[in-house]
Symmetry: C2
Subunit: 315 residues, 2 copies
């Protein structure tokens, strides 16, 4: 019977068809549980998300679903709310359930400690890499993303570029500052003033815009560490009488639809390609399950999405 339903084994086509017909009529659905017991594979992976808002881990989940073949392999999703105890708990639960592997989706790009409890299955870290180099991680090339953003500004005629970004402590803040400086340097330019470190919020963006206009009135572009900041900067600049993009061009990071498209004008933004991160993580996990772990850090490129906020100055 198993042969008929799975298309394996030597069987006359007619017999196979007959068996399948009867099975269908009876509403018979073979149990993956029993099959798993025998084969040792559950075609199930754990997906641990640590950002409860899901802004980062949801796109990762979607990408992973793509790679996992639309239900061929399904994901048991666990939201740790960034609590290590809960994480531990979930990992144990996943192991008991004999998942074939685990994807850990981070909420910041800073390296994170590897999963505790020595999971006996492959683990792939997505977005935030594991601090253990022997683990397998998929990360975004944020440095290149920042560079692209700034190169785009330079290409469209901007020369006096400032950088307003998030909290000093974040790895992504440092990386984006580096990328910015790098791109400017390559073009023989320098950052206008120092990077403006603050929060990730619109409020900070508005504040920074006002301060920036005062201290550096000749700025003609701002690369912002996030879309929220950029949006605040857009509003702040407008209220200081500067026009976007005519006087000042703006680029953000995240390409988060609600913010980027609600912004006036719509925001040019660096897309972190999180779905691709998820897809890569899923594919790597499957490969690790079949052929053994492939440690290392895999990098996915960003993608600049150009909207009105960085249109060349009309003058």
């Amino acid at each position: 019977m198993s042969k008929a339903l799975n298309g394996r084994g030597q069987l006359r086509d007619e017999t196979r068809a007959r068996v399948q017909a009867v099975a269908h009529e009876l509403g018979f659905v073979p149990s993956a549980v029993a099959a798993s017991l025998l084969t040792g594979r559950t075609y199930t992976v754990g997906l641990i998300m640590t950002d409860h808002h899901g802004r980062f881990s949801l796109p990762v989940l979607h990408g992973a679903e793509d790679a996992l073949g639309w239900g061929e392999t399904l994901a048991l999703v666990c939201d740790t709310r960034d609590d290590p105890i809960r994480e531990q708990h979930y990992v144990r639960s996943l192991i008991r359930r004999r998942v074939d592997g685990i994807i850990v989706a981070g909420r910041r790009t800073d390296p994170r400690p590897p999963l505790g409890g020595r999971p006996p299955v492959p683990v792939v870290y997505a977005f935030a890499r594991s601090s253990d180099a022997a683990d397998c991680s998929v990360v975004v090339n944020e440095e290149a993303g920042a560079r692209e953003a700034v190169e785009h500004l330079i290409r469209t005629g901007r020369r006096r570029i400032a950088h307003v970004t998030g909290p000093r402590g974040h790895a992504s803040v440092r990386t984006r500052v580096d990328g910015t400086r790098h791109a400017l340097h390559e073009a023989g330019l320098e950052l206008v003033g120092e990077p403006w470190y603050g929060g990730w919020s619109e409020v900070w963006g508005r504040f920074a815009a006002a301060a920036l206009t005062r201290s550096h009135p000749d700025v003609d572009a701002v690369f912002c560490g996030s879309d929220a900041i950029a949006r605040g900067v857009a509003d702040g600049l407008r209220e200081c009488g500067r026009r976007v993009p005519d006087d000042v061009a703006l680029v953000g990071v995240d390409n988060w639809q609600p913010t980027a498209e609600g912004c006036r004008p719509p925001l040019t933004s660096v897309d972190l390609n999180l779905q691709e991160v998820g897809r890569t993580a899923g594919a790597l996990l499957l490969r690790a399950i079949e052929y053994g772990a492939a440690p290392g850090i895999h990098t996915v490129p960003c993608r600049l999405v150009v909207r009105a906020s960085s249109a060349p100055a009309s003058g």
Copy 2:
């Protein structure tokens, strides 16, 4: 051994401890797969989400996780991207995996067709109810939410209240209009003009604010069908020279942090309590699994979150 590890059966404490010690030392983790085969329960449920951005289904997932006891029962998450074919596919996959039940998280409040494929396990619909009354659904009391919003505006001294909302076709748009009218009527008031139907976007809110200011310059409050709309209205009003909340108070719906708190001023908003919807759905599902299905529509109340946009007029 099973007796020792699960604390069942007649066993000397010492024996139990000894077995557990050895098991721990060997890194032995009992297989839930084998247990499921025997008991028929997998302690796994399917969670079908239909909104790929997760704005509605993620809070539902969190609530469900709460109810499912932190890993006691885990959720296999499937994102259908609102495609019925894919949904069908996922349902079959879940059934093969012998999930104990299924939660279907909607993306609009309009009733949706029930899951195809006659799942042999309990199904609970969350946020969007099933169009089949024999199913079990958990929905938000949006009518009461709208009423509360308007009552709040009236209580804080507003009398000339307008309503700017989303597309005519949506059930939640109709319900919110009804609630608004109801609350006004109870207070002996009437809506200023007709409801303004449009999109869910900020752009629409800005446009509507301008039009509204022109046609009804005496409006002193606007109840908006979403936070995005409200935010657009806030910006639009400000640009027409009206102060929020001094001249016009504003209330939105969704209580979506990024929008509500990025708004100037921060937005009073009707919270849809989606996490509670998820919790209720999870609890109902567990009950249905243990004691059989309990059909019907279960309603969860909204919660008004008051912020600066609806402060009483200072004058």
